[in-house]
Amino acid sequence: MENFEPVIVAFVCNWCTYTAADLAGTSRLSYPKNVRLIRVMCTGMVDPQYVIKALLEGADGVLVSGCHPGDCHYINGNYKARRRIKLLKEILPQFGFEPERLRLTWIGASDGIQFAEIMRELVTELKELGPSQAKLKMVV
């Protein structure tokens, strides 16, 4: 368990968080590279099936991250994501996942440092939680 490195799938929006991630990279900020970025246009397009798919395929955690409230390029996509993630967290246990494996954050385009911090935080939390057991239990 000590060497457990959680795998995180992050759905990041094209306008804010993807830019922040790029900034973290170009600023050479150190953050754990456990995260696999999947760029979407808006967090509002993240279908719940993507999150569940990622967890079922073995991700130890899923991050959905977009623009701050009021900042969405598409007016209100991030609010839609917020509602959806809240519901998803309710039903994740039925799939055998701890709700903590899913996280929603807002990271603005110039928050490269915050992006790195959240990645570190997430890795620490997931390390405490341990590897996702779901894939072992479920037949998919």
Binding site: T19, G44, E57
Partner: protein
């Protein structure tokens, strides 16, 4: 993208310049956007947060239609547009010619770092020994002499600050690609002649310039000797002392200029003779230096002069119009006499420094810590009007932005503290809180409710507290009490000043400046100058916030466009290169993978053969190649050759910094006839920088990123981008000055316009307004505009007509109009502009209606004009501001009332200097240059008494025969009640919009809570409705004066022109669609769409998407239970496969 032959030059790459350039480019003109600094974004590259969202949102300025022509990512990172040629570090060198045919020459600053070769690895920074103040962080942190100007900008090539570089050569040795060429051969042969009678000055200058500057220096101790020297030896630059015995510097300058008219001369002067130096500049001196010299300042300046002189000018361009968008600069409190310890107390900062403290890319990474000792900040004080409303700092104007940014900074700081669980006190010390814009007052109220303290008064001094813990502020409140407050950070809300270089630019262009150094525009116009074809955009003409700058920028684009169109620029290019891509829609994916090894830095230790083998397990991957540097021209050529040789129908490039390739891919697509949507760059370099915990980290990371890219590309759609037909005609509702201006602006471009007016005459509010505060007559404006409208062949005026119904979408609207006889007919148009105006609000407050001596400002205007009121017969007039305004339910400032009150007060005082005028006000909204009239009114003896909402003045009508009016109020300075017997009480009731709800609904747009037009975004899309194709201007949009209304009208016209400019308008490639076979017609997607782009087609029983309104956000796809709604490029199958690849 439609392309026309017209060209424009936009000077300045700030928010205004970007808006003007995008508007002109979207209309189809070619735009050259030049920017003095090495990055675009202007001041906004330093500001992360804007009210009212307290966030950013700049990306919303990007095109909504024809999206593929421009970059589709964060605008703070950068901008591309097919029709815009952005040239950084470039200035205007000269201009010749006439409107429509200007010949301009540009000068690009050269830098020792070659952007073609720089790969942004940052090795140079690690070895640079020089530390200097980082201008990006407003001097709060340091950087090296080689640096990135803005950390998140692209292109992100490093550059050398030649002013501070010691030319030690360390970076040159460290650079892996040989991008740095430090040695400037030119300097060794650049001969500077130092002329000064004092030996010590000559000697020290010679030493500094030779040793530290690397120049060749000669000396002369007198004027005659200097002249002899230049005759025999010549020189390239003369540093010339003014005060010398015998022949003085000015005389030497004159004689030298007779001999060599082009000789650059820089005067050297003591502080006492600066005026002489300024005079010398008028007879040809380039600049002046003030003694005693500071080598740290002197050498960079000489280097700068050298660079300007040695940089070859060019290229020369022909443009139809020039848009000046140089922005503004900000008052430097260190220059003032009373600086509140700025410069000596590190915890006294300017507002721009504070913005950097808040920023995630700032010196503290966004943590609220004191600059002095890094301890958390607990109490912040904002001091308003630093360098504004201050005749001592030559600023008899209000900078208009500081009140709102101070409130915003306080709000953002409080949010930040709340996030970190910290306590934070925030106080704003002010004279008047000028919350004059739409929604500003409610924002202020919100901040007050959240705990921001507003303290009215003047701060006298800021000194360190004797305890050494924090700062002490002594201030005087309005009641005269002196108090001492504490703060550990003091923010000086600095005002605006003319942009650096504004003087030189306007001189070169022959444009007048106003008394404060901003561009002087024509009467009733915020953009047009005395020279046709040269217009001012953004804040260059002075004192504007983002929203007004953006409006002004679109208006400037319109003015420029009129000139270009007039010169024939709207003709489409005959040989417009229309790219035909290979049709690969029916082919199976054949992917070529190109991997940049970054000179083996990325792929070190990688088993290349094994990687190729594994990638080629995927049958879609046909070729895998390794290239050394795809970012260099050579590497790119190799890639192009590979594509031409193998003819793949998908290309994946594994490299770094995918953003940089956006534009290159477009060009590559044209060169190899492959749609750039079928090519993608993925970042493999990040994976190689930090290994993960697995056996072969780099290989696994790189391979995963590549397979994710392959998964995306496999599903990439080559479908053509949909277009919609456009009915190239516009409809304007409302025949006031805004509506008429909008109609003329569009009609002048050759498009037909229907102008609908419900009354029987054009002109609206201009009928009862007679002159401006500066004396400008309004009647000629009305007559001239109305005549132009009535005689314009492209404008159909419909009087006594109203809109009864409308429907449609961008490109095609159908509006039903009904005339006075009840005859209805339908009009078809591509865009609609609402300009329905507004009127003075009715009131029953302060006894209005009880006496004919209680009147409104509008009535006063009429009575002054028709002589019903005789100022000489009056003794006392009381004026009351903010009647029913700035409190619920009409909680907004009408913006025009304070200037109107000042106008009438001054007119009355002018007619009868003995007349007593008392103005009761809450905050005098004398914004911008209007402040000077506030000053004049006070000088003329008008009394201004502030009141608060809980202490409003009361007006009683006397019961006795003469029925005198009695005004009672609390006088805060005296702290006692006062009674004023008045002949007239004049109420400023403000503006209410007349924007009928059914009209708004007919066009599918919204009203705000005060029944004004709801713009899509107050800052970034200020005249657009959320629904594309509908725009608004004038006072149905927001309260504003005539000039400002005209600016919104021009802006709305420019925005409408983008749409009706072409016969068909395209959307973007990322766009929603419907798999009809899967669709159950549940209509959830219709509800989810924020742009109203989806609707049910009842005939076909299917959901249709308007491609121009859809922005591709994917909200529909996420709610669709059957995966019937999808977004091109983000199909569910595709995302699922990418997830698989990510977890393999």
């Amino acid at each position: 993208m439609q392309t026309k032959i017209g060209k424009a030059l936009v000077i300045g790459g700030g928010i205004g310049g970007i808006r003007s350039a995008l508007d002109l480019a979207e209309f189809g003109y070619g735009v050259t956007l030049i920017e003095r600094t090495p990055h675009i974004g202007g001041i906004l590259s330093q500001l992360d947060y804007q009210f009212p969202t307290n966030r950013c949102g700049m990306c919303k300025m990007l095109p909504l239609v024809e999206r593929d022509a421009s970059s589709q990512f964060c605008l703070r990172k950068g901008l591309f547009h097919e029709n815009i040629d952005i040239r950084l570090s470039t200035e205007l060198a000269s201009v010749e010619g006439e409107p429509g045919q200007f010949k301009v020459t540009l000068r690009q600053e050269k830098n020792p770092v070659n952007p073609e070769l720089c790969i942004g690895c940052g090795k140079c920074v690690e070895v640079c020994p020089v530390d200097t103040a980082d201008a990006f962080n407003a001097g709060l942190s340091t950087r090296k002499a080689i640096y990135l100007p803005v950390p998140h900008n692209i292109p992100n090539t490093y550059r050398i600050d030649t002013g501070v570089c010691t030319q030690c050569g360390a970076c040159q040795d460290a650079c892996p690609t040989g991008a740095i060429q430090l040695l400037d051969e030119g300097r060794i042969t650049f001969n500077i002649l130092v002329v000064d009678d004092e030996l010590i000055v000559r000697d020290s200058l010679k030493e500094w310039l030779e040793v530290e500057g690397g120049f060749q220096v000669s000396m002369a101790e007198s004027g005659p000797e200097a002249l002899e020297h230049i005759k025999t030896h010549g020189c390239q630059l003369m540093l010339l002392d003014i005060k010398m015995p015998g022949m003085d510097g000015v005389e030497v300058l004159q004689k030298a200029k007779e001999l060599f008219p082009d000789l650059p001369v820089v005067m050297m002067t003591a502080y006492a003779t600066v005026e002489t130096a300024v005079e010398a500049m008028k007879i040809g001196a380039l600049d002046y230096l003030i003694k005693p010299f500071d080598p740290d300042a002197l050498i960079p300046k000489v280097i700068q002069i050298y660079q300007n002189l040695s940089t070859p000018v060019g290229p020369e361009l022909e443009v139809g119009a020039i848009v000046m968008s140089g922005g503004t600069s900000y008052y430097n409190p260190a220059e003032g006499k009373d600086t509140y310890g700025y410069g000596s107390l590190p915890d006294v900062v300017t507002s721009i420094e504070f913005e950097r403290l808040l920023s995630g890319t700032g010196p503290s990474g966004g943590k609220l810590v004191r600059p002095s000792d890094g301890r958390p900040i607990t109490r912040i004080a904002w001091l308003q009007c630093i360098g504004s409303r201050d005749t001592q700092s030559d600023a008899d104007f209000c900078s208009t932005i500081c009140c709102m940014y101070a409130i915003k900074e306080a709000m953002v700081a409080r949010e930040r503290a709340a996030r970190d669980g910290a306590q934070l006190d925030t106080s704003i010390y002010y004279m008047d809180m000028r919350t004059f814009g739409k929604s500003f007052q409610r924002y202020r109220d919100r901040s007050e409710a959240s705990g921001v303290a507003f303290k009215r008064g003047r701060v006298h001094s800021v000194v360190p507290d004797p305890s050494g813990e924090d700062l002490q502020l002594r201030w005087v409140a309005t009641d005269g009490t002196v108090a001492t407050d504490h703060a550990d950070l003091v923010v000086l809300s600095v005002g605006q000043r003319p942009a650096e270089g504004a003087q030189a630019l306007t001189d070169m262009l022959g444009i007048e400046r106003n008394p404060w150094g901003f561009v002087q525009t024509e009467a009733f116009s915020l953009t047009r100058t005395a020279r046709t074809g040269i217009v001012a955009s953004g804040a260059f003409a002075g004192l504007k916030d983002i929203s007004e700058s953006v409006i002004q920028a679109s208006a400037a684009a319109l003015a420029a466009s009129q000139t270009i169109h007039g010169a024939g620029g709207s003709i489409g290019l005959k040989d417009c290169p229309k790219t035909i891509y290979d049709d690969v829609a029916r082919q199976l994916p054949r992917i070529l993978v190109a991997i940049c090894t970054c000179n083996n830095a990325v792929t070190k230790g990688l088993d290349q053969a094994a990687l190729v083998h594994r990638l080629q397990n995927d049958p879609a991957v046909k070729q895998v190649h390794f290239l050394d540097h795809t970012c260099t021209a050579e590497g790119w050529q190799q890639l192009e050759d590979l594509i031409k040789k193998h003819r793949p129908n998908r290309v994946l490039i594994g490299a770094c910094l995918p953003y940089v390739y956006t534009r290159k891919l477009k060009q590559l697509g044209r060169d190899v006839a492959l749609d750039p949507r079928l090519m993608e760059v993925v970042d493999i370099r990040s994976a190689s920088l930090q290994p993960e915990a697995s056996d072969n980290p780099t290989a696994a990371g790189i391979e995963r990123i590549l397979t994710m890219g392959i998964a995306r590309l496999r599903h990439a759609s080559p479908n053509p981008v949909p277009t919609v037909p456009v009915f190239q005609r516009a409809l304007v509702v409302g025949g006031g000055i805004a509506g008429m201006t909008a109609a003329l602006s569009i009609a002048d471009h050759g498009f037909e316009v229907d102008l609908i007016e419900q009354s029987d005459q054009l002109g609206g509010n201009l009928h009862w307004l007679h002159h401006l505060i500066d004396g400008q007559e309004i009647e000629p404006l009305l007559t001239e505009t109305r005549d132009r409208v009535n005689h314009h062949p492209q404008i159909d005026v419909h009087l006594t007509t109203r809109i009864v119904a409308a429907f449609g979408q961008a490109g095609t609207f159908y509006s039903t109009i009904e005339d006075g006889d009840g005859q209805a007919r339908q009009l078809t148009h591509g865009a609609a502009i609402l300009a329905t105006g507004g009127s003075e609000a009715a009131t029953t407050a302060y006894g209005f209606g009880n006496s004919d001596r209680i009147i409104t400002q509008k009535m006063l205007e009429a009575q002054l004009h028709d002589g019903a009121i005789d100022p000489k017969a009056l003794k006392t007039v009381v004026m009351i501001q903010c009647v029913d305004s700035r409190e619920e339910p009409r909680n907004y400032c009408s913006r025009v009332c304070c200037p109107t009150t000042l106008k009438h007060a001054l007119a009355l005082k002018n007619a009868n200097p003995d007349l007593r005028i008392v103005v009761f006000y809450r905050d005098m909204m004398a914004t911008g240059f209007m402040e000077t009239y506030f000053t004049q009114a006070r000088k003329a003896g008008v009394t201004f008494i502030p009141y608060t909402l809980d202490g409003k003045p009361e007006v009683a009508v006397g019961a006795t025969g003469d029925q005198r009016l009695m005004v009672t109020a609390h006088e805060p300075f005296l702290d006692r009640p006062v009674e004023i017997s008045a002949d007239r009480v004049v109420l400023a009731t403000g503006i209410v919009p007349s924007l009928p709800q059914d009209l708004v609904q007919a066009y599918g747009v919204d009203q705000d809570e005060d029944a004004f037009f709801q713009e899509a975004e107050s800052k970034w899309r200020p005249v657009d409705a959320l629904k594309e194709g509908v725009f608004a201007c004038g006072i149905c949009h927001s309260p504003r004066n005539i000039g400002e209304s005209i600016a919104t009208a021009e802006a709305a016209a420019e925005r409408a022109l983008r749409i009706i400019a072409s016969e068909r308008v395209a959307s973007g490639s990322i766009i929603a669609g419907v798999h009809e076979s899967l669709c159950a017609l549940c209509e959830r997607c219709i509800e989810a769409c924020p742009y109203d782009a989806r609707m049910l087609d009842p005939d076909g029983e299917r959901i249709v998407v308007n491609p121009v309104m859809c922005q591709g956000c994917g909200a529909c796809a996420a709610v669709c239970p059957n995966d019937a709604a999808y977004v091109e490029g983000f199909d569910a199958d595709q995302v699922m496969e990418v997830i698989d690849a990510a977890l393999n």
